[in-house]
């Protein structure tokens, strides 16, 4: 079946509104994706018909809610091809997941151990590890990148040693769109016995990863990047790693037995799920995964590549426009500047024309420092965007350029 973007757009109520008197052109998908009606409905349905606390109640409503929540965990397990459903930990999002792992490694790392991060990371995949290093005396090493925004694998290899305990990289850079060769990165790390955490926040809406085949030790992502709600995400960890890490937060749900002398912890996944979780969010995450799979990741990939190629070609026709992140392997993210114009000015003008782009450092200041720029304008496309919207963006940027020079 042909990819029918107009039909897909009818699934997203927000895409039919106007902004500043113009039809909304939403090109900030790397920040968060829009939500289809089925996901919105699943939240309404949960609160209208099934709301109860989960895992503990013997009453029917509680069982319904528990079943729906655990069914979502199952869906996530299948989607990412995870071996056991108890290796899927519900969290509030990718940042929470990373902090959970970084906290756990506090009791594993020793002074002088090394951990490796990439130059392409979001602050959320830098700061928790810096804090971990401060607590443990471990040393943070950085895989450098090329002018094209591509990680230098030979440099990575030279950083690896028996001292390396952890490597954490994103699958896709949020600021530039570069797809990192995570399969190679994982393989190389394993040769020295280091564990690898993959931040999938930017890739999960574009690529369906097979976590068993990839052999990642940890994988984190947020539901809101893949048409799901905000405030919910997952940590995947291999069973042996999750058993090794101590609990992150204490509270209800994560215990086996509590006395004032000693508490024993629940088995996976509950050991890491203290307190009442975002039940509606978890269920809606499941609905979002069903929705994306009904469209199909292969079709999404092909269509987004078309949009990326078209937008790249059209934007480059604008005088003085420079794109940052020009690696061969990239997703539908275009980070750019126009010579002599501040990205903030461009963002302000195109917003007046109803176009939502992101401006600034995209929570990746080290990348901006590398290019010696204050920030970029970032247009990030999803499968529900159209070529006509790319044309609107190009026209708006041209107008902004005229006004600002």
């Amino acid at each position: 079946m042909a990819f029918d973007v107009q039909k897909i757009r009818t699934d997203f109520p927000i895409l039919h509104r106007t902004v500043n008197g113009y039809p909304l052109v939403y090109l900030d998908n790397a920040a968060t994706s829009q939500k289809p009606q089925v996901v919105i409905d699943s939240i309404v349905d949960y609160y209208s018909k099934h709301n109860a606390n989960i895992h503990r109640g013997v009453h029917s409503l509680s069982q319904e809610a528990t079943d729906a929540y655990e069914a979502a965990r199952k869906k996530i397990q299948e989607h990412f091809n995870i071996k056991h459903s108890h290796e899927v930990i519900f969290t509030s999002g990718a940042t929470h997941s990373i902090n959970l792992v970084a906290n756990g490694f506090s009791s594993i790392l020793k002074q002088g151990d090394e951990v490796i991060v990439s130059a392409l990371e979001h602050h959320s995949n830098i700061v928790p590890w810096q804090m971990l290093c401060e607590r443990t005396g471990a040393i943070l090493k950085v895989i450098p990148m090329s002018e094209e925004g591509v990680l230098l694998l030979s440099e990575y290899e030279s950083l690896l040693s028996k001292k390396t305990k952890l490597v954490f990289v994103n699958h896709i850079s949020n600021a530039l769109g570069t797809i990192n060769p995570i399969e190679t990165i994982i393989k190389k790390a394993h040769t020295v016995g280091a564990a690898v955490l993959i931040d999938g926040a930017q890739s999960c809406s574009h690529i369906k990863p097979d976590l068993q085949q990839l052999d990642a030790d940890f994988y984190v992502t947020s539901a809101h990047k893949m048409c799901g709600p905000t405030g919910v995400g997952i940590l995947y960890g291999k069973e042996q790693w999750l058993n090794k890490l101590p609990p992150y937060q204490g509270g209800g749900e994560m215990i086996k037995e509590v006395t004032f002398e000693k508490t024993t912890y629940a088995a996976l996944p509950h050991k890491f799920e203290a307190g009442t979780p975002n039940i509606a969010g978890g269920i809606a995450f499941g609905a979002a995964i069903d929705y994306l799979n009904s469209i199909g990741f292969e079709a999404i990939g092909v269509y987004e590549k078309e949009l990326l190629d078209y937008a790249t070609q059209e934007l480059l026709k604008i005088e003085g426009l420079k794109i940052y992140g020009t690696g061969v392997e990239k997703t539908s993210v275009i980070s750019f500047n126009i010579e002599g114009i501040h990205p903030y000015d461009i963002g302000t003008i195109v917003d007046k024309l109803g176009i939502a782009v992101r401006t600034g450092h995209h929570c990746a200041q080290p990348i901006m420092d590398f290019y010696e720029i204050p920030g970029t304008v970032r247009a990030s496309f999803a499968f529900y965007n159209t070529k006509e919207e790319v044309d609107s963006l190009v026209a708006a940027v041209k107008k902004a350029r005229l006004m600002l020079t």
Binding site: N20, I341, H342, Y344, D345, T348, I349, K352, T359, G360, P374, G375, M403, L404
Partner: protein
């Protein structure tokens, strides 16, 4: 002119524009005409925090009045700074402290007051008022 009179003048000027584009073109022109801050004063301690673009604000007391100069690396931000300088520069500290800023809304730049707008208009006004408070105290002693 008093702060209030200047604010009225700005409201009149901005009411002439039919659409946002003319308004922004005017702000961009104002930005371009902003007397630049002395480059030696573009130091980190004069940077206003909370802006996506950089804004340097410098103040001096001349004849019991506060004189502001500023610069920004973004042109629309510079236009906003130019408007604020027109309103608040060459005014007595107590008048700056007491002034309200409803005119920003009235000239149709309300969107720049939202906390998500990282252009720091709110921070700029706050910083100007803080300088005024400092001079007010200095003059009293």
């Amino acid at each position: 002119m008093t702060i209030e009179a200047i604010q009225e003048e700005l409201i009149d000027e901005f009411s002439l524009f039919d659409d946002w584009m003319q308004k922004y073109e005017y702000m961009i022109d104002l930005g371009k005409s902003l007397p630049l801050i002395d480059p030696s004063l573009k130091t980190d301690d004069r940077l206003i925090k909370g802006c996506q673009s950089k804004v340097w604000l410098h103040s001096e007391l001349e004849n019991d009045k506060v004189v502001f100069t500023a610069d920004s690396d973004a042109i629309i931000t510079k236009g906003i700074v130019a408007i604020l300088i027109r309103v608040f520069s060459n005014q007595k500290p107590e008048d700056i402290v007491a002034a309200n800023t409803d005119f920003i809304d009235e000239i149709g730049l309300k969107e720049h007051l939202s906390p998500t707008r990282a252009n720091g208009l709110v921070s700029m006004v706050k910083q100007m008022k803080l300088y005024a408070i400092a001079y007010q105290t200095q003059l009293k002693n």
